[in-house]
């Protein structure tokens, strides 16, 4: 009876329900085992509240890409390329679904390779991934839901890159580039940061070489996409007429709609990264909200100061920057720190986008580098600066004690580990992208013909038009 109740109580603590069943002889690592046949009805099943939240979160993260990001980016391009951006988001959703099912989930969250760089082969083709929890990652969430949730991250990350290279990369080249990029950059990086045997998973890997922390993907998602975006847009070259012809957003209305969806969906991204509906999720929800609202206000305020007008694009950019920067930090910092994160997130990407880009003259079409690379890097660093053991008990959990993260947290020096993680992420993204881009360029070429680019990719790559408003009545 005590064990039965203890298993249920674990539900409220997001703890392992089988802990109290571990009364058998010790295994070779010295951990007590569960005697054969001993179980309770609350062991090995999904917890309804946690499962509900993770299904909701997975749906919300999909919502970020389809249609959130597709609208955010689609609104910012010119009319003739709106569908091309949408097709790229849709195409990545399809492509990554297949890659993730076949190899991705296993390469990231498997552990059979026992490697810091790649997961394992045990879950190839999602073998054995069913509705029982995988307690390496979540005590109370169905493993298949966890796998789908993580798939949504694997979809949005390459889709973010699309922003930098919008309006001038062939659809076929985008698809081939991203296929290679998932294997060369995303899967290893995600394993390094989030896999239980990962190189820089300070929270869950007791033997992590780098004791870095990344709650919801500052390195894995935003730095990886942002820095790859910069490199790819440099290799690709500028859009025809860049700097001469004006290329204003064709619909700030769509862009604003996309921003709202990104913000809403991001709760799944950030609070969902607790993989439970517990107090850590609640904290992530709160810091995400505060940082985002503040960053939106700060960016627009800076615009108002600099040129007397606060713009819708400014509010939207600030909100997205706030979301990006708080991503790695949200589950580790308190609400006061979240306000500081918001202020910095509103200010630093603002200068990256309005000053750095004109200075260097690269054509980061929709500012993936300025917002995601700069913001992601800033966020990874700030996570180290602001992290607080009081907010998240995993920072002082078993793994963190084993690898010494707990002491770094107490000593306030996690930022050193974060710098290491930043360096590795940056190097992997840059090198990986360079290799793939140059090979592809040589093999099939990256850009459409000049005529195609002039006519717009909607017609030339997809044979469609975004809007046909003519009256024929």
């Amino acid at each position: 009876m005590d064990q039965r109740v203890a298993a249920i109580e674990a539900y409220f603590q997001n703890a392992d329900p089988s802990a109290s069943l571990k009364v058998g002889p010790k295994d070779k690592d010295g951990n007590a085992t569960i005697p054969a046949g001993l179980t309770t009805p609350a062991v090995g099943v999904a917890g309804p509240g946690h499962n509900a939240w993770m299904m909701t979160s997975a749906a919300l993260v999909l919502f970020m890409t389809l249609p959130g990001l597709a609208l955010f980016y689609g609104g910012l391009v010119r009319t003739k390329n709106v569908l091309s951006v949408m097709a790229q988001c849709l195409g990545l959703a399809g492509l990554v679904t297949i890659l993730w099912w076949a190899f991705g989930y296993s390469l990231v969250f498997g552990k059979s390779f026992n490697s810091p760089f790649f997961g394992g082969s045990e879950y190839f083709f999602m073998k054995g991934v069913d509705s029982a929890p995988n307690t390496d990652y979540a005590a109370w969430v169905s493993q298949n839901v966890f796998a789908m949730y993580q798939m949504m991250f694997a979809i949005i990350t390459p889709a973010l890159i699309v922003g930098a290279i919008a309006e001038r990369m062939k659809f076929s080249a985008v698809i081939l580039f991203m296929t290679a990029w998932m294997f060369l950059v995303y899967f290893p990086l995600a394993h390094m940061v989030w896999g239980v045997t990962g190189l820089m998973n300070g929270v869950w890997n007791g033997t992590a070489a780098i004791k870095a922390i990344d709650f919801a993907g500052g390195t894995v998602v935003h730095m990886s996409s942002g820095w790859s975006a910069l490199i790819l847009c440099l290799v690709l070259g500028k859009r025809l007429g860049f700097g001469k012809t004006p290329m204003p957003p064709h619909s700030l209305v769509l862009c604003m709609v996309g921003t709202g969806m990104l913000w809403v969906g991001w709760y799944g991204f950030n609070a969902g990264s607790a993989v439970a509906a517990d107090g850590i999720a609640a904290n992530a929800f709160t810091t995400t909200t505060l940082a985002t609202g503040t960053a939106a206000a700060v960016w627009a305020l800076l615009e108002y100061i600099v040129r007397k007008k606060a713009s819708v694009l400014g509010f939207c950019s600030g909100a997205v920057a706030g979301l990006v920067v708080v991503t790695p930090a949200c589950g580790f910092i308190n609400s006061t720190s979240a306000m500081w994160v918001g202020i910095l997130a509103g200010a630093i990407p603002f200068f990256a986008v309005t000053k750095l880009k004109p200075l260097f003259g690269y054509d980061d079409a929709l500012d993936t580098f300025g917002v995601h690379a700069i913001g992601g890097t800033l966020g990874a660093l700030l996570t180290g600066v602001f992290t607080s053991g009081a907010v998240n008990s995993n920072l002082t959990g078993d793994a963190a004690k084993a690898n010494g993260l707990d002491k770094l947290v107490a000593g306030g020096t996690v930022w050193v580990e974060q710098l290491k993680a930043i360096g590795i992420t940056l190097a992997l993204a840059v090198v990986g992208t360079l290799i793939i881009a140059f090979i592809l360029k040589a093999a099939i070429g990256l850009r459409p013909s000049v005529e195609a680019e002039q006519e717009g990719l909607d017609l030339t790559d997809h044979g469609e038009e975004g809007y046909i408003y003519e009256s024929k009545s």
Binding site: P246, M247, K309, S311, L313, G314, T354, K357, P358
Partner: protein, 112 residues
Amino acid sequence: MKLIIAIIKPFKLEEVKEALAAAGIEGMTVTEVKGFGRQKGHTEIYRGSEYTVDFLPKVKLEIAVADGVAAKAIEAIVTAAKTGKIGDGKVFVVPLDEVIRIRTDERGETAI
């Protein structure tokens, strides 16, 4: 016959239409156009990129009239469209050789 082409400010369309009606002219064709002239445009800024938009929204009226009515029509347009501020627009008068009403095959002034 004359074809009067008038470029006016969009918010004056209703008034010009009424003035023409008062002058007995009840047919016209209207196009949304962009005008470029002495009137200055505005500046738009998108994340640090400034664009100067020189072209301003205008409305173009095309009105076919009998020769005798042209002067009255022009007078009506000019009076109704004037604000006195730069960018009020222009009236162009072009000779018109023939007019046909498609519905009835009428030709000339009766077709207007």
